[in-house]
Amino acid sequence: MTPTPQAASSNHPQPAGEHSLTALRQMILIRRFEEKCAELYNAGKIHGFVHLYIGEEAIAVGVIAQLQPEDAIVATYREHGHALVRGVPATAVMAEMYGKQEGCSRGRGGSMHLFDAATRFYGGNAIVGGGLPLAVGLALADKMAGRARVTACFFGEGAVAEGEFHECLNLSALWKLPVLFCCENNLYAMGTALRRSESETDLCLKASSYEMPAWPVDGMDVEACQDAARRALTAVRGGGGPLFLEFRTYRFRAHSMFDPQLYREKQEVEEWKKRDPILTFGARLREAGLLDDNVLKSIEDDVAAEIDRSVEFAEAGTWEPVEELTRFVYSERTRP
């Protein structure tokens, strides 16, 4: 079994207040960043498919802040929030949205394919379910090399219908690999409701059939997400094999920028918005005396400034020369 260093470097104990305000700020950053992306999309600055995470911010913030720098993340095409929380600079993410070569994937990937080697952020995978095998492999490499790392793999509930989901849960449990499966169940696979696509809609039941712990988590509550992630990571790092978290959440915006949302009632959306993770957490912080209008304003101002900088950075960015079109089809580095 691999050695398990006790929470090494990044989890410096913080005052509860500061820690909470950091989480609030991260959620606000994702929210405002994506609102800006929608605006820039409509202004013709960003193209292609853009999938907004608005409403689901508590999950990325809750989970990723609990990871160590040496852990890995595999995410989906709805990954702006995950990249930002992981520490991919907003400037590099925004430049990627623009398709500029200063972007975190050199502009090659766009919204759906954010990659960042420095933070071990392995995409940005836009084939539903396609990221799970990568996570299994990253965890396999860690286990074989005796490294006590975890790979956090995010995917939507739509992936549960893919064969790769079942293959990967089985394989990782069979080999006791350190994968934290984070299913973001926002109830709709694009426009197909879970109840219309799954004979068994209890996702934890499915996961636990592969002999791994599976816990449902309130994905609208950042503290619940933090708590579940912390406990889950301790278990996974302890060498017990993978663990499955089902975050019950909701996407407030359309699936992508081309979605008239014919498949769900406006009333349903409004009901879920009452559970907005930023508003509810903000209210809790106010009750605890940790947040007031001034503090909130300073967070909002700080976030606005960061986003402004990211837009300026992206605007000032440059296009990769067409001569470099075929670079990186194959590696340029010398052989190891």
């Binding site: 890995a72 595999v74 070569q101 972007g103 975190c104 994937s105 050199r106 502009g107 090659r108 990937g109 394919h113 990659f115 960042d116 080697a117 392995y122 995409g123 940005g124 995978n125 084939i127 396609g130 799970l132 095998p133 990568l134 996570a135 299994v136 492999g137 990253l138 965890a139 396999l140 490499a141 860690d142 074989m144 090399a145 790979t151 064969g163 790769e164 293959e167 990967c168 089985n170 394989l171 069979l174 670079r327 990186f328 089809v329 194959y330 590696s331 340029e332 580095r333 052989r335 190891p336």
Partner: protein, 336 residues
Amino acid sequence: MSAEGAAAQTVRITYREAMRQAIREALIRDPRVFLMGEDVGRYGGCFAVSRGLLEEFGPERIRDTPLSESAFVGAGIGAAMGGMRPIVEIMTVNFSLLALDQILNNAATILHMSGGQFNIPLVIRMTTGAGRQLAAQHSHSLEGWYAHIPGIKILTPATLEDARGMLWTALEDPDPVLIFEHGGLYNTEGELAADAGAVEIDHAAVRRAGSDVSLIAYGGTLGKALRAAEELAAGGIDAEVLDLRTLRPLDTESILASVTRTHRAVIIDEGWRSGSIAAEVSARIMEGAFYELDAPVARVCSAEVPMPYPRHLEEAALPQAATVVQTVRAMVGKRD
């Protein structure tokens, strides 16, 4: 010992044993190398290539997988990104279609899509080809199809030297390499230098020099081309046989050089004619050596049918030396 003496030291060996020695050597040389696939361990490999390796290297490095092609091929990609050097075995090319998502959307794509950040030093081996009465779901030759995909390399060892030597070179490559082993070759036996080792994988090889026609073959069709050349020689036609060895990237220079010497070309390919690697080779000859040609390029490919079971129909569906001989005779005859 003199150079001649050293060169003369050979061992009698089968293609299967040469492959096994290559895998064994890789496992010994590099602790990051491991073999993963269906029945590679306890069973000893579907085609007995890995027999004995489990006993020598243990179940961590000779890793039996569930029948989950997408998961274990994807896990190979993830493990490669995580610093390992996996050799993933897929039983047959037909089964590899279950992993095509991982091969195309991830292995071939991530380096470019991530702006050069994540290379994937992965080797995938699989059996290809017909001739053993295995019918239509175990017998196809899809290596030409895979050669359509930029971002991966396609090797087709046809000789003992290449069976022994291509693997190590592939493992040293920073990018994904697919090795297609023709199932009809495993039992072929011959002399191999006792000190045989890694071979380059960038060039086609002239296996028989000639002046009247270029027979361009690879993998399972090389032997047929050589037999056809012998028969043609008996009739006074001097055929050159070019072994493509690597289907991507194609060694266009060697193809054009051969055709420039002989002024005629017949491509022998077990793939279906339409959209085949033979079509690609033919196109490159047209583009690069049109005015060297004394006759239209000809192709001897598989009949465009799913591979049938009974021997006489399978033989009728496959390229045969006799067909090559007829094709060449007709071609030379037309000129005169």
